[in-house]
Each structure stands twice: as C-alpha cells, then as structure tokens.
Amino acid sequence: MKKMLKYKVVGLLLLTLFATSCNDYLDKQPENELPTVSVDFTDMSKAYEPCAGAYADLAKNCFGTWEFAIYQSIRGDYTEKGNGNDQPDFFSAVDFSYSNIKGAWFNTGIWKSIYGRVMNMNAAIESLDKFAANAKTDTDKAAIAHSRNEVRYLRALQHWMAFRLWGSIPVVDDNAKAPGITRAPYADVIKWIIKEMDAIAPNMEAKHPNQMAVKGSATRYSALALKAKAAAEINDWDNVLAATSLIIGDGKFVIYPDFDALFKTPGKLCSENLFEIQYTDFGQATGDEKGPGMFGPQGPNTSTSVFKGYTPGASVSTIVWSGEGKTSAAHGGGWGFLPALQKLVDAMDANGETIRKDVTIIDLGVRAPYTANKYGDVIARDPDKIETAQNRYWNGKWYVPIAQQIEGRYTWGGKNNVRIFRYADILLLDAEAKVNKGQSGDASYNLVHERAGFTAKTGVTLEDIYTERFMEMALEWGDRFYTLARTGKGVGVLTGYTAEKRFFPIPLEQEDLNPSLVLEPVPLF
C-alpha cells in the first residue's frame, strides 16, 4: 500500500508541475489600465477636440499658474514684487539683478509651462492632420483647417510670451526638432510669428470672437492682433500697420464704453476684446469649475477679507473684522503680489486721469482697517496685522465685485476671463505706427483717449501715444515695461535697467538639459 501511496503522490505532484502551461499563465493584461486610448480619427464629431484641448491646456497649465502672470508683469516702475519677504528671488527680477535668477525656480518653471504647451500644441496639430486625412466633406475639411490655424495661433502666442521673457528663444514648430534645438535670433522669432500669422490669418474667420460658433475662439483678428503686437517688438511698423489697419478697417471691434465693466464679468467677450483665455464656474455654487490662477496672487494679502452687502455711502464701522474662518467673511483677499506703486498714482494724477485711475487702482488707504468701494463691497484688513500690510494700492482691473460672482465661490478676481488683446491696445499701436511712418494717428488715439473722459486731440505725438498707453494699459501684463523696453526709453527711467536687460537669462536648468542653448543663436531665415 505504501508504495502505491508514494507513487500516487509523486505522480500527482509531477502532474501539477507539467500541467501548467507557462505562456498562458504569463499572458496577463495589466490591471486597471485601459489599453492605450486610440482616437478614432474617422469620427468627425471629435475633430474639434485637439483644438479644444489646446485652449484648455493653455488656460490651465500656463495662464492658470500663479507665477506665470507675475513673471510676465513684474518689471516696470508702476509695480513691485509685494508680499513682504516671500519669494525674495522675484526681487532680482524687479531690479534687473539677473545674475541671481538664472537658476531661480520660476525662471525654469515658466519656461517649462510655456514650452510644454507648445509641444502639446504640436501634437494637437499632428492629431488634426490625421482627422483631415479622413475628412470627407468640405465642411469637415474647412472646420479642421480652421482648428489647425487656431492651434498655430496659440502656438505663436506662446512663443511671443516666451519672447517677452527671454528674447532669443528656440522656435519649436515640430517636436522632432526639440532635442538639441538652438535659439533663434530675437528678431527672427518675431519674423517667424509674423510669418505664421500671415499664413493663417487670411484663412481664419473674419468675425469677432463672440460671433464664433465656438464662442470666444480665435479669429482672423486675434491672429492679426498678435502680428501687430509682435511686429511692434522690433519696430516693424509696416507689419504693425498692415495688421492694425485690417482690424480697424473691418470694423468688427468697438471701444467698450464702460471702462470699468470692460474688466469685470459683463466685459467677458465684449466688443473690445480680440482674444481672451476663458474660465468659468458654470454659474453653479458647487461642482466643476475652471478658475484662473493669476488674479488671486495680485490681490492684497491674506490678512484681508472682502465683505459684501455694503451700501455705498453708508458707514463702514458696523462691519467688524471677524477673522478667518467665519462665514461673514465673503472671501479672504489675495496673496499680496504686484501692488501698485505711488509712482503710478502720481502719474495718473499728473495726467488728470479720473475714470482710468478709479478703475485701475484700489486704494486701501494708509493702515485703514476698512475700505468701502463703489461695488458694495468692503475690503477689511485684520487690525492686528495692518502694521505689516505695507501696501496701499492694488490692481483694480483684476478685481471682480462679489455681486458679479456666484455665492460660495467668491475669490479675488472671481472666475473672470483673462484678457489678452484689447482693441484699445491695437488702436494705440495703430496710432504709434502711423506717427512713426509720418502719418496722423489722431483717429485711433482719440477713440481711446475720449473714453477716458478726455476731449479729442489733434496732431498727437509719439510722446502723447506712449503716455496714453501707460495710462490705458497700466498694470496689464507689464505693458509699461515692455513699451519702455521696445522703445529704448527704459534706460534712466527704470532703476538698474540697461538695454541688455530687456530679456531674462535663459534658465540654467534648460541649458543643462540642452547644451545647444548656450550656443550663439542660429538664424531661422
């Protein structure tokens, strides 16, 4: 019996040993992972998705980051870093001590934000080309072609924003070129943007963005606005004028009469805006939202709260500071970056600004615990902490009254869209180009000037136009600095500025990643 038992046991065990088929056993899909999503490039209902994705990516991962807008806007004498000693490296960006920021986290971080989007846009163009190859109807083909142009526009826009920071940058219009890419001379970057816009603008819809089926998407005029802005960087007045005259001539845009509402919720996609980055909370108190990252950081800092329900003219003493975490505080202010400086207030006063000063600057007073504003909000500061809240003036353009926001989602700046190109900006560029070419810029200039409550001027000079620009565009995207820089007027006005300091240093990390960036720029054309 024993031998039978042993025989059986061994036999059974050997059976298990050889019965298992190895390759079946190993043939196992990974858990919880769908196979790589493959897009059905024949399904034309999805053909707009790469384009929508490019807009969303830009809104979230570039404009949605707080440091992006700060870095773009920090230079110039109308603003400073703010927020005490927090993020001290930005001091070196403000006062042009560039040796100190080559390795700063934001210098490389923003490079990655911008070029990361560029590379995604290149991939989106590849996706669109695959849809195009499958498109049967002319309607589909045209729609895809338009989407492709929109993405090219966004890609050029990103290059322009990178140009403003670093000047001589690589142009990445194909991801395959990215490894080991060299920089292009800064004028070539601009020429490439102009070339791109010349290629796409004629094929884009000649509409105001708010007339587009996909509301607010880029149109011919968005592209032309970029062309004008880019050409102005290198004083290419012919190209500026070519673009501005088309925009103005086609008459799709008008100056929005209410300079205040222009920047607030009612001014989203208004008649004046040529391009916006859009955000929303869908008008709902809870659930999904897509918020901008740039407004909060530029509000007065955290020891501030904003209360609603104040009747203009009434005494504010009834509202008592009630500290953090209490429901009576509607929202808790901002982070304290980029306060406005007395110099801007003085310049506005000297220029007799009323409407624009009122909108551009929020004056919290000198250590005043409460400031009532015309929107029915009270901005209160913790009386215990006023001593350290040194900053008095804040950017009013980025302020959205609580009444225009959804309850429960109050924040500094709300879910407002980020304005990229305004018609007023284009008009002033048009005037500047005309005067530079010996023509009269009066007409364009006065459209802007008159809205600000002034009477029309004749024979405007370049100086008039610059002043108008400084007042009109104050605290928007560092326009003060970029204007001083491109016109060569910065030296002497901006402490520590020299012509070589127009652009930030190429990030050290990027040079480490791609040693070709250290090489002399290689001409594109």
């Binding site: 196992k28 929508a52 390795g103 999904d288």
Partner: protein
C-alpha cells in the same frame, strides 16, 4: 519498502542505481571532549537526507534500518563532524570537538541547504542570538554594522523598515534586496519579531543569489523562522525587555536672542517684523522677545519600548514543533500620537510519517498597528523661529485648541506652521494583518533518498487598513482645515509561490555531486479600495467613518495589480574530496509584467580548499584556507513595465470653455517607452582563512558588479519631462574584510573581537547616448565616471573679508557692476571661478561628493567571565556627504530660523570667519540660489551600536532539568553617535536632508528564561 518497484518507475528518468537491501539497527552515545553527553546531534547515514536521527538528552541514539555497510556521520552546529563506518559494528560511540570555524554549519541557500565548507560564494549567516541582542522592531535593524558590504540605514519612525543596500547602488529605481522568508518573497521583514527568526543568510554574490534570477540583483536575504529539533524535550523560552528611548544628538537652533541678533545683522527694516510683532504680542525686554520656544523640546519625549516573546519548541524522533508568541510595543519619540504595536503568533510543525516522506506546515500571523503623525512637524520646528509660544489664548480664531499662529509673527505663508499643532491635528493609523502560511512535502524517491522531490507552497495574505485623518481645526489661515478630511484605504495583498524541486545527491568515491532542478510559479495580487469624505465628526474615535462625512464630499477609488511569474531553475554542485568545488546555477524567469517575457540568469562558482592539499599539511600558518571565485547574472524586476504616456488626456481639465459652455477636448503626448528588467553581472573573488590555531579567522572578498539596462529617467529637452528607459550602466566594486579573534584565558574567561569593513566605489559607466548627465533637483548630477547623484555646485574658497578684497576680485567687481540687487559685500561667500571668465556660471560647478559611503566598518568585542558577559558593538561610515537642504530653504523666506552653527560661526566682521557667510549673506540670492560646497557636509559618523551586560544563572531548575537557565541583562542600543554634520542624524539614505527623524538611544532591561 520495496525499492525495486520505486526503481522501475523512475528507471527511465535517472538510470540504474542499486542499493543494498540489508539493514540493521545501530545504537551509540555521543559526547564532547570532556565526556559530557551531547544532545541534539544529528546522526545520519552518509549520502541520505532522511535516514537519520538525533541524540537524546543523555547523548544516546538509535538508528533503525541502517544499511549494514553504512557510514554514519555525526554533526551539529558548532561541532566538527565525525564519520564512522558501521561495517561489522552495531554500537558506534562518537566524540565531537568544538569547531571554531563552524565549517559544518548548514546554511540555507536558495531552494536547499549547503555546508559552509562547500560554498563557493560569500554567504553571511547571522544567527538568532545576534539578532535578539538588539532592541529593534525590525530584525534587519539589528544587522546594522554587522555584515561587511551591507549598508543599513535606520529610520527613527516607529515600525518603519530600515533602508538596506547590499554592495552599493546599482539601480535608480529600486535598491531593496529580496527577502525570502521560508520560501516566500517579501520587500521587507518588518512584520517579524527578532525572536521569530532562527537565522538570516545574506546572499551577497551572484553565485549564491542567481538562483533567484530576476529578483536577485540587489542581493537576497534568506530568513528562516524558528523550528524545533528532533528528539528534544520541550523547551520553553521567554525573552523580554522593557526600556525607554531618548533622542540624542538633538541639534540646537538659535534662541530668540540669537535670532534677533541675526536679523538685526541681516539688515533690520522689514526683516525685524517677526521680532517686533513677537514683542508687541508676547512681550519683550531690551528689543528681544521674551518668548523663547524650543520647538524640538516641545516635540520630543522619552518614549517607552517593550518586547515580550514566548517560544515552546521540541521534537520526537519523527516530529518537531515550535510555537511562539511575541508582543512588541514602541512609542515614538515625537510627543504626539506616534507609536507601533505588533503581536505575532508563529507555529511550525515538521513530521516524517515514513522514511521517504517529510511534511511540514508553518504559519505566522502578524498583527500590527502604526500610528504616525505628519513628520513635516520636524521640518516646521526647524523653520519656525522661537519667537512665539506653543499656545496663545489671544488667538481668538484658533479652534479647537488655542495654538499660537505664525501669523502673529507676520509669517503668513504655509512654509511656517505651528509644529506642535501640525503634529496634533494630522495623523495616520495603519493596521496590518498578515498571515503567512506555508506547506511543504519532501519525498525520497531513490534508495536512501538520494533523489528527493520537494514541493513547497507559500502564501502571503496581507491587509493594510490606513486611516488618514486631518481634524477640523484652525490655527490661522495658513494652517487650518475648514472641514475634517478622512481617507480610508484598504490594501489587500494575496501572493503565493509554488516551488517544485528534484534534488539528487550522490557520491562516487571522492566525487560528491548534488543536482537540483526546479520549477516555480508565483502570483502577486494587490487590490486597493479607498474612500474619502470631508466633515467627519471627530469627537470620538468611533465616529471616524467615511459614511459620517458629507454625502457630496465622498469619493471612492480603487486600484489593483496582478503580476505572475513562472520560472525554471537548476543548480549543480560538485566537489572532489572537499578540495575542489564547483557550483553552477541557471534560472529562466518568465514574467507577465514585461513585453519581453523571458530572462535567463546563469552563474558559476569555484572554490579550492588549499589546506586540504597534501602539500599544505606540513605548513603551520594556515589552519584553513579556501579560495573562491564566482561569476553570475542577476535581474531587478522592481522597475515599471512602461513609462510615460502614449495616449491622450481628457476630462474637465482638457475641455475647452466657450462662454461658460464646455466642449470636450484632449491633449496627446508621445513620451512613452517599454521597459524591461535591469541586469547585474557580478564577479567575486575571495578567500576564507584561519590562523593561530583557529583563533583568528579572516574572510576577504573583492566584488565588481555592473548593472546593465539600468532604468534612467532621461529628461526631455525643454519641458524637462523625464522618460524612463533601460539606458544606463552602473558599476559598484569594493573589498570586504571580516576578521574575528576569539580565545580563552584560563578556564573562566573568554573573549572575542571582530571587525568588518568594506569599501565601495560606485561609478556610472554610461547613460543614454548623447545624454552626458542627468540632474537631480539641480544640486546633484549623475554623469559617467562619477557616483550616482553626486552633489554638484560651486567650490567655496572662503568669505570676502573686506571691501578691498571685493574690489580686487574681478568676479565680485563684475557682479557688482551688473546687478543692483544683492551686490557682494564683505561676509559673502567666495566661489571658485574655475574657467576664469570672471563670472560665476554653470561652467564653474564642480563635483562636491557623493551620498554613498566609501568606507563602512563595524566591530564587536565580547567578554565572558564565568556567568557574566559583556558585549559592545560599534559601526561607522566615512567618505559620504550630505546635502543640507534645510539650510538651502532660505530662498523662500528670510524669517527661517538658524541652526546654532550658522549663528556661532557666522562672519560678522573682518577675520571672524572664512567658512560661514554673514547673516545678511545667508538670505542673499548669491548664497541661496547658488548650490555650493557650503551646503555639502560630511556624513561620516561613528556609533556605539550596542552595549550589553548580562548575567546567567545556570541550571536553575530544581530537578536537574538540564539547560534550564535565566539570563538577566541591561542593554543600551545606539547609546553614542559622533558626527559633525549640522543636522539630527547623518543617516539619510539619499543624502538629502529635509526633515529627518532624530536618532533615539534605547536603554532596556531584559530577562531570558530557558526552561
């Protein structure tokens, strides 16, 4: 038993072998050189694994069914073996002498055992006594400093497994060795009590480890749990200690007076805000705040630790058993809800119903609970100045406890938080339940069980329940939780391994051969389910349920993985007359994880026992000398199967917004690559020797390991996004030497001294083509010719002492001409301008040292006089560096506190310091934006690892129960550590110090009762 029948079945498999059917019964007695009977000696018929017995308490044995011409071998751990022929005899007595070299010790090797003398590879076997000596929660922690070539870095967190590196770092992804506990694979053994372990064998080289194929690249640690011995009466052992732990080497930070002085020197103005606010709110004297909180003192406590274990084991002539209970409890030294508790039950039985069949089952059940708090509190304690108290009754907004807020000091960003509040409000509880059943059967097939078949099934069934709770609280707006957040995670692991092996042992004259072939399948399955909710009430622990939270806030998530492996392996060992030894292994590993399914891992080892040669008989120098060499290949499959993303990303984040209306969108990326395992090729040469009448022994090895296909995350240009690929080649090489001396003086005094040391040279051979280097966070670089993650930055030459020096320095004067912010002044660091272009730029960076120690050493001294014993062990490392990241955080804020070294040694006037910058300079971009040798410090340390004094009461049983004894002991674990680094501990695996747990010394008192 009819062997003919068996043979017929297997004849076709293995050829003809005929054994004698004549048997007889042999008896006898085994004693030691003093004539005392020896218990538990294995008596075995040579050439058989199953035909044997062990001696009883009186040293006698009886062996039935022995072949008439059998050769009996008598062996036991610690004794020299003896062999006697039974030809013509029925009574065989034997006398065994002690074996100082333990050459007859049997060590576990993969899928089998081998005698130390037959090994061709360096295997270090650490026995239970060495492990239980240490008051540690994890058996591996007890090995620190004991084994040459093994670097163990302990963490201070209760219940946390130590970081173990065997022979350097050959992978960027995973450097943990494989742990095999009774046949089952683990990533660590922190579930085991020190008393559960019988022995730990460390397979360091390829010849030993290659049998574990694709899992073996980082070395293999074989753990055997306790088992009983044949013919042994029940032995009850209680081993327990209680004690306490105290933090040592606690670093001093600036007090309020020093902090005030530093900020005054920083430049007054806004920098003084925290000081002014502290004085305003909490009072001050002479411009110095009265408040002076030592945050570390607030966070630290004396913590208790205890361990109790009870073990009963024994055996009859056919069965052995061992059952044990153990309980460990350890409080964390952080004064918060930080502790670890573990209760283990272990049971093991081995039974031999027939001569040809052995069965055994083993179950370990481990239940443990770990409470931990947010360790970031250590970091905050470093950052937050001493200017505020722990509690502040006037902080009206604070809820529920009136903690003081850093906002009172004007420190509003979340870099600063009240450290005590952080430790209080945020905690995590992890409950582990782990069951490890294993079963084996061993069947002898050919005569005398020359061929045995063994099947082994092991399981690892594990549940981890994590409860992560952040209570509703407000300290201030930078430190609050408007609603409590609860996250519960259940992780279930169900792994099994089935191994089948056939082992054939035979001898032909002086030829000894052993062949093993095997097959194994394994499955690793993980399932995770988690739920999260906000607003969970926390008045009582019974309320902490996700379903008590707000319905709208509840989120559920799950995940899982399942990997399967199938392997075939074989090992052949051969020796001629115990002089020439050869061992070869081969393993084929199949894995479901990778695109490429199969990998092959060979190894070969040879050894020459020189002292067994006739020509060595006359020499007197060597009592023993064995020279060995091995080569083999090993794999590391703890790398992901793929990297990057080949598809598209969709959802809300990638959908466009058009005037408040959403339209779907996607982004696509193409950064994708398939990966496969890393392969290590290792060569080892070494020798083992004994001198001076076996009193001095030496083990020496040189190894060289090269990792091919190392997974390197190479950054993409521009975005810097990292894409993994099997690009790299890394080499580790070094020497290992162990020396042991043991001797007796007189009858009562014995002593031993041991040292071990190892060197490590880590070098990256190549990265990807055209990728000359890869950076890690900017401060470390990996580049060919240098160790992995070498710190990288400027060399500090000194400190500018006066303006004249600055004006004369072309670097400083150029810098000052170009920058308005942060101009260089006396007190700033001088960097070396390597390329001489008068600008400190990328090309001036230099290699500043590696986090890997070049030299590791350890040692022990043991003294015994009569029943009194004393032992001390020590260890240390040198040649490695630490990057003091905490000091580098000053670019975030100028209000960060200072460590004492920065205060005491700062430059504050010409000639005061040429190593440390001034207070003003500490916060300047020139200092904090430029990584330099100022931030790199020596990580060398020397530590007394353990000191122990014990006394043993022998023969305590009233009725002469032999071996009953009681040992009482007092022990100090890590009582002393010396290092110069300005931090709490130099033990930081990756050398980047951000928030390490301070080291604790543990003082215990214990008893061990064996009955």
């Amino acid at each position: 038993m009819n062997k003919k029948t068996t043979l017929i079945v297997f004849l076709f498999l293995l050829g003809s072998l005929w054994a004698s059917a004549q048997t007889k019964t042999i008896t006898g007695k085994v004693s030691d050189s003093a004539g005392q009977p020896l218990v538990g000696i294995t008596v075995l018929v040579k050439g058989s694994t199953t035909l044997g017995t062990t001696t009883a308490v009186d040293g006698t044995y009886e062996l039935k069914n022995a072949p008439a011409n059998a050769i009996l071998s008598f062996s036991s751990i610690g004794m020299k073996s003896e062999e006697s022929s039974a030809q013509g005899r029925n009574v065989i007595d034997a006398t065994l002498t002690e074996d100082a070299l333990n050459l007859e010790d049997v060590v576990v090797v993969g899928y089998g055992t081998a005698k130390l003398k037959d090994l061709t590879s360096p295997i270090t076997n650490v026995k239970s006594e060495e492990i239980t000596k240490h008051a540690t929660s994890d058996p591996m922690q007890a090995l620190q400093g004991k084994v040459a070539g093994v670097q163990i870095t302990n963490s201070g967190i209760p219940g946390e497994a130590p970081h173990v590196r065997i022979r350097g770092v050959g992978s960027f992804t995973n450097e943990n060795p494989l742990y095999v506990v009774d046949g089952m694979f683990y990533e660590n053994i922190s579930f085991l009590n020190n008393n559960d372990v019988e022995s730990i064998a460390l397979l360091k080289d390829a010849s030993a480890a290659a049998i574990y194929g694709v899992r073996a690249a980082n070395g293999v640690v074989l753990v055997t749990t306790k088992k009983g011995a044949l013919n042994q009466r029940a032995t009850v052992t209680y081993d327990g200690y209680i004690g306490f732990q105290r933090a040592t080497n606690v670093m001093k930070l600036a007090n309020s007076a020093e902090y005030t002085m530093m900020l005054k020197e920083r430049g007054e103005g806004a920098f003084m805000d925290p000081i002014d606010l502290s004085i305003q709110r909490f009072g001050g004297t002479g411009g110095v705040p009265n408040t002076d909180t030592d945050w570390y003192k607030e966070l630290l406590r004396t913590a208790k630790m205890q361990n109790h274990s009870l073990d009963v084991s024994g055996g009859t002539d056919k069965a052995t058993y061992s059952v044990g209970l153990s309980y460990l409890q350890q409080d964390g030294i952080m004064n918060a809800k930080s502790d670890y508790e573990r209760f283990n039950i272990r049971t093991r039985g081995d039974y031999q119903p027939y001569k040809w069949l052995k069965l055994g089952a083993n179950v370990i059940i481990s239940n443990s609970t770990r409470n931990s708090v947010n360790h970031d509190a250590w970091n905050k304690a470093f950052l937050v100045p001493s200017l505020m108290p722990v509690y502040d009754e006037n902080n009206t907004a604070a809820y529920p406890v009136k903690y003081a807020s850093t906002q009172a000091l004007g420190l509003t960003n979340n870099l600063f938080m009240n450290p005590v509040a952080l430790a209080e409000y945020d905690y995590k509880t992890r409950e582990y339940s782990q069951v490890l059943p294993s079963f084996y059967a061993e069947i002898g097939i050919l005569g005398n069980n020359k061929l045995t078949f063994r099947t082994n099934y092991s399981q690892d069934i594990r549940t981890r329940r994590t409860k992560d709770f952040a209570a509703q609280h407000i300290v201030a707006s930078n430190q609050k939780n408007d609603k409590s957040i609860l996250k519960k995670t259940n992780d279930d692991y169900k792994n099994y391994i089935l191994d089948n092996t056939l082992t054939y042992n035979d001898s032909y004259g002086k030829h000894n051969l052993s062949v093993m072939v095997g097959q194994s399948i394994r499955s690793e399955k993980w399932q995770m389910l988690e739920g999260e909710a906000k607003g969970v009430p926390n008045a009582r622990p019974e309320y902490i349920y996700v379903s008590q939270g707000e319905a709208t806030s509840r989120i559920a998530n799950d995940d899982g993985s399942r990997d399967r492996g199938a392997s075939f392996f074989a090992r052949a060992t051969y020796n001629y007359d115990s002089k020439y030894m050869l061992s070869a292994t081969m393993r084929a590993d199949g894995s479901s994880k990778y695109q490429e399914k199969w990998g092959y891992f060979p190894s070969i080892g040879i050894a020459w026992n020189v002292t067994n040669e006739n020509f060595m008989k006359s020499q007197k120098v060597f009592d023993y000398l064995k020279i060995r060499a091995s080569w083999g290949q090993l794999g590391n499959d703890k790398v992901s199967a793929s990297a990057g993303f080949a598809g598209i990303e969709t959802g809300l984040e990638y959908s466009g917004v058009w005037n408040d209306v959403l339209s779907p969108g996607y982004i696509s990326q193409n950064t994708f690559s398939w990966l496969k395992w890393e392969v290590v090729t290792e060569t080892n040469v070494g020798f083992e020797a004994a001198f001076l009448n076996n009193r001095l022994t030496a083990d020496f090895d040189y190894y060289s390991r090269t990792t091919n296909n190392a997974v390197v995350a190479c950054p993409m240009p521009i975005t810097g996004e990292k894409v993994d690929g099997n690009f790299g080649k890394i080499k580790n090489s070094g020497f290992e030497l162990s020396l042991n001396w043991s001797d007796k003086i007189g009858k009562d005094f014995s002593y031993n001294v041991g040292v071990n040391m190892s060197t490590l040279k880590n070098e990256v051979i190549s990265l990807k083509d055209n990728v000359p280097y890869v950076f890690l966070n900017g401060e470390a670089i990996t580049t060919p010719g240098r160790p992995i993650n070498t710190f990288y930055g400027y060399n500090v030459l000194g400190v500018y002492q006066n303006q004249a020096q600055i004006d004369a320095d072309p670097v400083a004067s150029k810098y000052n001409a170009e920058n308005t912010n942060g101009k260089l002044v006396p007190g700033d660091l001088i960097y070396q301008d390597l390329d001489g272009n008068h600008v400190i730029d990328a090309k001036d960076r230099d290699y500043l040292g590696s986090p890997l120690p070049k030299f590791t050493y350890g040692g022990n001294i043991g003294l015994a006089w009569k029943n009194l014993d004393f032992g001390i062990s020590f260890m240390g490392v040198t040649g490695n560096k630490i990057f003091n990241s905490k000091r580098g955080l000053r670019f975030y804020s100028n209000s960060i506190n200072f460590d004492e070294d920065l205060v005491k040694n700062r430059w504050h006037g010409e000639g005061t310091s040429n190593t440390h910058p001034s207070s003003e300079s500490l916060g300047k971009p020139w200092t904090v934006n430029n990584w330099s040798s100022f931030f790199v410090e020596s990580a060398s340390y020397f530590r007394i690892q353990n000191m122990q004094l014990g006394y043993t009461f022998q023969n305590i049983a009233p009725k002469g129960k032999q071996g009953a004894k009681l040992r009482i002991y007092a022990s100090a674990e890590r009582p002393f550590t010396h290092f110069t680094y300005n931090g709490f501990t130099p033990e930081i695996p990756d050398g980047r110090d951000t928030q390490t747990y301070p080291i604790a010394s543990t003082y215990t008192f214990g008893i061990k009762l064996t009955y």
